[in-house]
Symmetry: C2
Subunit: 222 residues, 2 copies
């Protein structure tokens, strides 16, 4: 198919497709004339994957490119395949780091160490999620939200249960490349799924518990 | 304290503080001379809250302003206070919407309806999280990730359990303004907490299950 059809099928505007081609995130089409390429289903699928990572997963273009490069390389790196994929994804997802290193950060670092120990989690010091967790814990301490910090263990247990299902899903996939893509999906799109479901569960419960019997609904702010 | 000390205490650069003052997100200081204001602890705290919403929660400046306006107004709106706060927060957090309305979106809309019914969740049609969920489900269908969609009910049960703890936390707070702030904290910073804990749980399990006995660690992509 031509570029215009590729754009129509994928929902991605032509200038954006050209950008992805230049950046090497999308393979060049087969040349049918000096200025025209021919594209196939693999291009449609790749464009949908790029948009999922960026629009739904919130990755930067550079982050999405790092994840795609890894998926394309088929390279296992030093460790086993899934762990290498997880590393690429987690570094691509890294939150901005709060630069204030104060007493709250030191206390938060210790709280996170203890939490990891309580749950028996072995995670390396380089995992950017550890810094993200320290940052959120420090912010909550600085804002005096100690009851919110009391939710940490419950959140950790939920994260553990979900991770068990996710790892089983990855292990059940046969092809190496499908397993790598599975790691990307449950990491990036799993976040989006869980965030949306949390909001819906919150609305349901807040409406039911705090206003039982009243006909209330969530409304857009005026 | 002066502006320079406020900047040092909060870690927010002076030009950014000036921006928040102009935008009305931070109350003006008490004037000590025509060009100089005096600030107190409430200003330090407010700046930390603004940065938490933007840096950790990922809200836009406009989104953060809407949340702060609501917290400042003390206005309950039409419904009970917590539901009004949740509405403001959820609309501020709205993900960008994938504009492609195709067969996958129609199927996803139906899947989400059925999921809500299975879990007995009453949520209004205007909740932007419903659209976000439909979008992610549609993207996963288009990418053929049907096993990931099989995780939906497990995610929903986890979301329900967490929401129950969160609502109890809000109910246990006495002052109306603390309850509203509690809704903001568990919605915005709860997402960040859970995302970080998910990544740590994933690393721990992937390292243990897929490479038992091997001394492996998550590494930054080369």
């Amino acid at each position: 198919m031509r570029m215009s059809e590729l754009s129509g099928r994928s929902g991605v505007p032509i200038p954006t497709i050209r950008f992805y081609l230049r950046e090497g995130m999308l393979a060049a089409g087969e040349l049918t004339s000096p200025n025209q390429g021919s594209y196939d289903e693999s291009h449609v699928r790749r464009l949908k994957l790029i948009r999922a990572l960026i629009d739904i997963g919130g990755l930067s273009v550079a982050g999405a490119r790092a994840v795609l490069d890894h998926l394309d390389s088929g390279d296992d790196g030093d460790g086993p395949g899934e762990l290498a994929t997880l590393g690429v994804v987690q570094f691509a997802l890294t939150a901005r780091r709060d630069p204030t290193a104060d007493e709250a950060v030191r206390t938060a670092t210790e709280m996170v160490e203890q939490l990891l120990e309580r749950h028996g989690w072995q995670v390396c010091g380089a995992n950017p999620a550890r810094d993200s967790l320290v940052d959120v814990v420090a912010v909550l301490s600085r804002l005096g939200q100690h009851d919110v910090l009391g939710l940490l263990d419950g959140y950790a247990r939920a994260a553990q249960e979900l991770a068990e299902r996710e790892v089983r899903l990855v292990q059940d996939r046969q092809a190496i490349e499908d397993r790598a893509e599975g790691v990307v999906m449950v990491s990036v799109l799993g976040d989006a799924l869980l965030a949306a479901l949390r909001r819906l569960a919150q609305e349901n419960l807040i409406a039911a518990r705090l206003a039982p019997g009243r006909d209330v609904a969530l409304t857009a702010p005026h």
